[in-house]
Each structure stands twice: as structure tokens, then as C-alpha cells.
């Protein structure tokens, strides 16, 4: 399997994206998916799309930049509500990227 690139986004790029980063990293490890993760502010998404080229974006905030990259809400990592469903969405999206499903 190849490696997936994930961008974790929040308003300041420091607090909630750190929590999401940690949660997504744990999911990848659990599912034996090799990953690279960066964190950024919502405002930086546009420029990072070019420099990092993520396969998936997990964000706790709304993203105004238009992109074809799938965006999944990371709010469940904070609220605990619906976390299992989000985990499933993320893993499915990553496996699709890797071409294993």
C-alpha cells in the first residue's frame, strides 16, 4: 500500500487540528495505513493544497476554498458525537485513495 496525505484544518491551526491530527493518526495506525499529516489554518488551505497535495482534508471549520479533494468534518473528534461514523468515513476515503476498495 502507498502512503496517504491528510491535511487537518482548524481556525488557528493549533488547537482543534492538533486533536484531530492525533485522532486521525491513531485511526491510520489501527488500520495499518501509512500516512503523512500536516495541520494548518483554514486560511492556509489554498496554498497548502498546492504544496502538500493532500488526498483527504479533515476539518473542524468551514473551508471556503473550492477543491475536488474530499473534505470530512472532524468535529466528532471534539464532541464525541458520531465518532464511529466519522472513523468509518475517513478509513473508507483513505482506502479509496489507496485503491484497495
Amino acid at each position: 500500500m502507498g502512503k496517504v496525505k491528510i491535511m487537518c484544518v482548524c481556525g488557528t491551526g493549533i488547537a482543534t487540528s492538533t486533536v484531530v491530527h492525533n485522532g486521525v493518526a491513531n485511526m491510520c495506525k489501527k488500520n495499518n495505513i501509512e500516512y503523512e499529516i500536516i495541520q494548518c489554518k483554514s486560511l492556509e488551505v489554498k496554498s497548502k493544497l498546492n504544496t502538500f497535495s493532500p488526498d483527504l482534508i479533515v476539518s473542524t471549520t468551514t473551508i471556503s476554498t473550492t477543491t475536488t479533494i474530499p473534505i470530512i468534518s472532524g468535529i466528532a473528534f471534539l464532541s464525541g458525537v458520531g465518532l464511529e461514523k466519522v472513523e468509518e468515513q475517513i478509513i473508507t476515503a483513505l482506502k479509496q485513495t489507496l485503491g484497495v476498495i
Binding site: 488557528t12 482543534t16 471534539l78
Partner: protein, 157 residues
Amino acid sequence: MLLDVNLLDTELVVLNLELENKYDVMTVLANCLLEKNIVKPSYLQALIEREDVYPTGLQTKEFGVAIPHADIQHVLKPSIAIATLKNSVKFNLMASPENTVDVKIVFMLALTEPQKQLQLLQDLISLFQASHLIKQMLKCDDRQMFIDIVNQINQNE
């Protein structure tokens, strides 16, 4: 760990505040942090500007909470200030800023190196989700007792 006295002490806990709106709550908490030299004078303005663009209200299973915070350049040392409110105020939701959530407990974050403060963030998230502790926190009117409740989250892990 929230227990760390540098991160949370009684002077950074304000209980049963009676305030009109989220701006008043943010001002009170930011002033607590400022008085203790935890944030720079620029923190409050940065906090409010950020909250208006990227709100921090969250709906957990049973409660509305908010975690207002500003960029690290406005912070001198890591800490957290907490307020409980007599009457709820509305915060806009992080996930959908056009909607609001009624909030009776606010956690104001002052972060400097988030990767090193991951445990604090994780403890905080566990706390939001521990409805029984939030219930006790909302009823509490003694600051030391309040901190004892908060610290139960570490023992539960």
C-alpha cells in the same frame, strides 16, 4: 495534565457568572489570563476577531460548550481559564457558524506549543464528553472543589 498548577488554578476559574453574551464572557476570562501574565494585551482583540470568523461552540452529547482561543503569538505561557454561567449565552457553532448553541461552560485556551500540550487538549475533550462531571461543574460554587472535579478526568483515564 489539567492538574498542573501552572495550567489551572483557582484564580483562573470563575463560577456562576451572570453575563449577557459571549463577548462579555470572553472579556472576563481574557482579563483573568491577562492579570496573571499568561497572555499579551493583544489576546482579547485577537480572540474576539477569531471567534467572529471561526467560532468555537460545540454541541456534545448533553451540553453546549465553547473553547475560545487566539493564535500562539498572543500567548506568553500555556494555561486555561474556565467560566460557568448562571444563564446560558449563545456561541456560534464551529461546524456550522450560521447556527448557535446555548453554552453554560466556557474553556478559554492559552496555548503556546500545541503538540506538547496535546495531553491538555485530550483531557479537555474527555471532560466535555463526561456529562456527569460537567453536571457537577455547573452546580459547583467553590473554586477549589471545581478544580477537584476537573481533575477527576485524569483519574478516570
